[in-house]
């Protein structure tokens, strides 16, 4: 299981990569994709929509279940990763490369953990 040190993580298993002070990429962690199993569809959010930290931003469907993706930040969706439309399996093969959406004008954050604490969290949760 991989937990890149340069990322922050939410307790809902999303990762956040800050591009500057108010812009970030969001995806799901290696742990999350492994729990979900093979992803078959990513119900991408819409650019321009507002997201709120700790609330649902979109959902993903695996062969096992539909699961919400919570936004770890509050802000506005600047862009979505359209590549996931054709290739949802990228979330399995490259969870930290396959960002789901980019948020801009970030005004608030959910509680975020660093890689070490997040790794510990995934172990204590399970």
């Amino acid at each position: 299981m991989n937990f890149p040190a340069e990322l922050k993580y939410s307790r809902d298993h999303e990762w956040v990569k800050m591009l500057d002070d108010t812009t970030a990429l969001v995806g799901i962690s290696d742990f999350a994709q492994s729990e979900l199993g093979d992803l078959v569809y990513v119900n991408l959010p819409v650019a321009g929509d507002d997201v709120v930290a700790g609330e649902t931003a979109c959902d993903v469907e695996s062969v096992k279940a539909v699961s919400d993706v919570m936004s770890p930040v509050s802000g506005r969706i600047a862009e979505v990763n359209e590549a996931l439309d054709d290739a949802p399996e990228l979330l399995n093969s490259d969870p930290y490369g396959a960002w789901i959406f980019k948020v801009e004008d970030i005004t608030d954050f959910a509680e975020l953990l660093d890689a070490e604490d997040y790794e510990a969290f995934t172990k204590e949760e399970h």
């Binding site: 569809y41 062969v63 096992k64």
Partner: protein, 332 residues
Amino acid sequence: MEQVVHYLETGSTDPAYNLAFEEYVLTNRCEGDYLILWQNDNTIVVGQNQNTAAEINRAFVDEHHIHVVRRTTGGGAVYHDLGNLNYSFITDDEEGSLHLERFTRPVVDALCALGLQAEASGRNDILVEGRKVSGTAQRVFKSRILHHGTLLFDSNPDMVAGALNVDPAKYQSKGRKSVRSRIGNIRSFLKEDMTLPDFWAYLTRALSSADVRKDRLTENELRQVRKLKEEKYDTWEWTYGKSPRYNMTSKQRWPGGGLEIRAEVSQGVTQALTIYGDFMATRPIQDITNALTGCQFRPEAFAAQLKQFGLQEYLGGITEEEFLKTVFDTAV
């Protein structure tokens, strides 16, 4: 599972109400184990990420007054009638929760105890003698999980086949596709016949690994359920509008000429539309495509736009009803 299983019934066969009831329990009863047994009257239930129009046989649905609803779990479209019994488990999302075994095992065991050769198959099905009698799907909500499934007990196979008999060429999208299976009815495999009420009572005991406690939603909770039904599950926006972006191509020949229509639909809205044909027109068809672009992709919305035109000038002998049927397989 813990010691007590809360058992609920919805008291309704309205699919929109039942899905609202189930969602309410998943998102608001945040502790304990729940079992719900319920039935929908003639209904097609599509998966969370499916293109509804592509999954249903519109003409058949209209003819037989079949309900169409979208659920929040994954997977493909299924047909329910009063010969089908649904079960829902709602519990904590623990390690390995998403493994099929945890939830299908009690169902398979319950069927085997009736003398059936039941087995879990693939990812989400339960088979008896090679025929699918149950399909299951799951939804994670925060730290809770919903696992639900159908149990074909005595369903009408002609209705199942007819309702889901679709034209695979008409729609193209990235959404979840359905897989067709050979289905079977549990009742036909029983050594000793049972009625559906007997089967229901049997499952209430068999699917509860511990003490079953009959529970009920409060009046206030039921008000929330009705609100969710009206604001979500009853709406066109949820059932059809939420379909993943798709393209539609339809070609039909009418007495007034051939008509071919292509559309691109996203968020339930017509993003682009092209009309071809060999009908006799005296005005540019662009007026109509402009009016329909940006409008909801549903027959009522198209009909409202078409009212402003003298259609024979644009479509020759092709009528509004024929135009709508070409696009939607139904008129208003």
